[in-house]
Symmetry: C2
Subunit: 400 residues, 2 copies
């Protein structure tokens, strides 16, 4: 017995640039890590890694809907201890130095079966908070890994290094140093961390500058969590037969592939373009859903404005499916959580189309104008019957 239920080990990745990635792992994504070109996802086959064919990474967490507390409402009373409170990402003035320290954190349970992709997704979601400030150069990212104590020795030895490699490759693609990992033993697998950047205050886009007449742009479609849940339900016989009334197996698989592509994509280009196109404010979209995050952003505004969402770009078929599952997936209400979602960027009306075009040109991925900034009381809402934009609009067999 070692006498401690938790072992904390930290490692500094001194030489990310020269780190020799495992090529067989790298090839699971075509092209360079982090490249914006459409990525080919090979199915993750546990047997290829000497694991039991039944091995499922997502079993070491809970995407089934049980144990999903704390919900947002449950959290509120817990966090009164932090009142008065602001929001992520944290911006700390280093008065003595005339600089700002920016930090953002996130932590995820496994949402995909492929450990390498899980690492990439976690890294993208941690960096996202810094990017929402229009800062593209993140100094460091620290990884936190919860290693499930239900993993067999062999599973642990295969899975954890793959997660780390995915995380590291994504950080490398973002030109960010992985500065250490905190490893804890835990019933569930957890992957996340904290990203930090230091810059002059004038180098960031403060999240409070929305002005009446601005518009809101969303840089990734909604429906990531919806697609993950649908894929999971497809493996449960009873759920599956009901789901098949609303969506074909093939469409569910396509939606999941698109969700994975979207979750693994970093918001870095979206951040770089924020400054170029004079963005007034932004946030990243994750656990609260698009409306929840819009509400949080609205509260931060210095002008008396409110955000009205008219359009909902959603991964194809997820909108119909979510409607037919009732309250289980409040996607069109804007309350369905997203995983590693896009940036919600507030831009001057005359710059928004150019921002979207530039993003599309650089990343081969669409962005959408989804709403407008009106005069108001720092609230946000989705209009009745928002226009649903299927992404992609037509099924061509291509990823997007």
């Amino acid at each position: 017995m070692s006498g401690s239920e938790i072992m904390t080990v930290q490692r500094q990745l001194v030489d990310v640039q020269n780190g020799s990635g495992d090529v067989s792992v790298r090839l699971e994504l075509t092209g360079e890590p982090g490249a914006a070109a459409p990525c080919l996802q090979l199915p993750f086959n546990p047997a290829d890694h000497d694991l039991s064919p039944e091995f499922r990474l997502t079993k070491f967490g809970d995407i089934r809907g049980k144990g999903m507390k704390p919900s947002r409402d449950e959290l509120r009373p817990l966090l009164t201890a932090f009142a008065p409170c602001g929001e992520e990402p944290a911006v700390t003035q280093l008065d003595r130095l005339g600089l700002s320290l920016l930090e953002s954190s996130n932590m995820l349970c496994p949402v995909v079966e492929d450990p390498y992709l899980m690492g990439r997704i976690a890294c993208a979601s941690v960096l996202s908070g810094i990017y929402s400030l229009g800062v593209a150069d993140c100094a460091t990212i620290r990884m936190t890994i919860g290693v499930s104590n239900r993993l067999e020795d062999k599973e642990r030895e295969v899975v954890v290094p793959m997660i780390i490699r995915g995380f590291r490759d994504a950080a490398q693609a973002a030109e960010t140093l992985v500065q250490g990992a905190t490893v804890v033993s835990n019933p569930w697998c957890l992957v996340g961390g904290t990203a930090a950047a230091v810059c002059s205050h004038h180098e960031l886009v403060p999240p409070d500058g929305a002005t009446v007449g601005d518009v809101m742009v969303l840089t990734k479609p909604l429906g990531t969590m919806a697609a993950v849940v649908v894929a999971h339900w497809m493996e449960l016989p009873e759920r599956r037969s009901r789901l098949l009334l609303t969506i074909t197996e093939e469409d569910a698989v396509r939606a999941h592939r698109r969700a994975v592509d979207s979750m693994a994509r970093s918001n870095r280009v979206a951040a770089i373009l924020m400054r170029k196109y004079n963005a007034h404010a932004a946030c990243d979209v994750s656990a609260y859903g698009i409306l929840g995050h819009a509400e949080v952003l609205a509260k931060k505004q210095s002008n008396p404005v409110s955000f009205v969402i008219h359009n909902m770009p959603v991964i194809a078929k997820m909108s119909t499916t979510s409607k037919l599952t009732g309250n289980a997936m409040p996607l069109l209400q804007g309350l369905m959580p997203e995983i590693s979602g896009g940036l919600l960027v507030v831009l001057p009306r005359e710059q928004a189309a150019a921002y979207c075009k530039a993003l599309e040109k650089t990343e081969q991925r669409q962005a959408w104008i989804i709403g407008i900034v009106e005069s108001g009381g720092r609230t946000a809402r989705v209009i009745d019957r928002p226009r649903v934009i299927e992404v992609p609009a037509k099924e061509t067999g291509a990823l997007w």
Copy 2:
């Protein structure tokens, strides 16, 4: 269903200084939060907080020795993905700014029953890495809380805010801003976070300057985890009867009180004194035990030195008890994990006694010269039959 098994909420504590702490909670420690004066620990009585008398925070974790993987040996293969690797805390050169970004992280399962004290202990352990660089002013600390999904609603509403308050009070005492909390749902309770500081390189004590002839000082006694495990075993009938052959109930309670006092104490004063007394290197002592951390520190040295540990200051009675439990508690081998342990500071021989005296004067707590720096191959060892220093040397009824 919210559709996400994990909810991440971030809160910025804008106004730590004016935060009105819950007085009834504060009073569980006498004096100001973080004060070095001996602290009176009232027993934590769940019923005082409308919880069931059977409520035990430590049940929402695992200090029993099960599920304590990953051990250090198990971790090594996992972390090859991070090679080449350094160690905690992370020091990142911000070349563009001519500054260093320092970061340290930690994460703990509940090791005490009192949620408020658990928060304080977690905060002290997170800050410790920054302090080991001789930097006493930490810019921010971000909290990570795993909220056990096995907690009843009522329990969650009582326990989590208490943990946060303890963490916040400890941060406040350290003049550090709590900049946000990441809250995740998890089977176990987890408390930890990441601390960050930005400074000029000349303001820190790099951990690589040990010189032949230096001595090593330890600023807290060993035996924190040992005392926690003993307290836990005292509640298990079979373990208890065997334990009582080696230690009285009263001595076990005293050892536990001392361990809590030690774990909750910050290493900030030890850090301030490092620069004053010209320290050559330091690390904090936690999950690897004193020898494990000495080994890690030895590997970092620029001079060809090795560390030899002669003295083992141990919380009274823990040394005898650990011997009689066989390999379960490798305390005198230097391998028993510590929780929020002290700093291991390498000092010039002529400064070491003055360092210890200054610490004792400021904190009313002893520090000890425990070993010497010899010429060698960057290794560390404990001599055969190290001298055990009982802390305190005599039982007077006082805490120390």
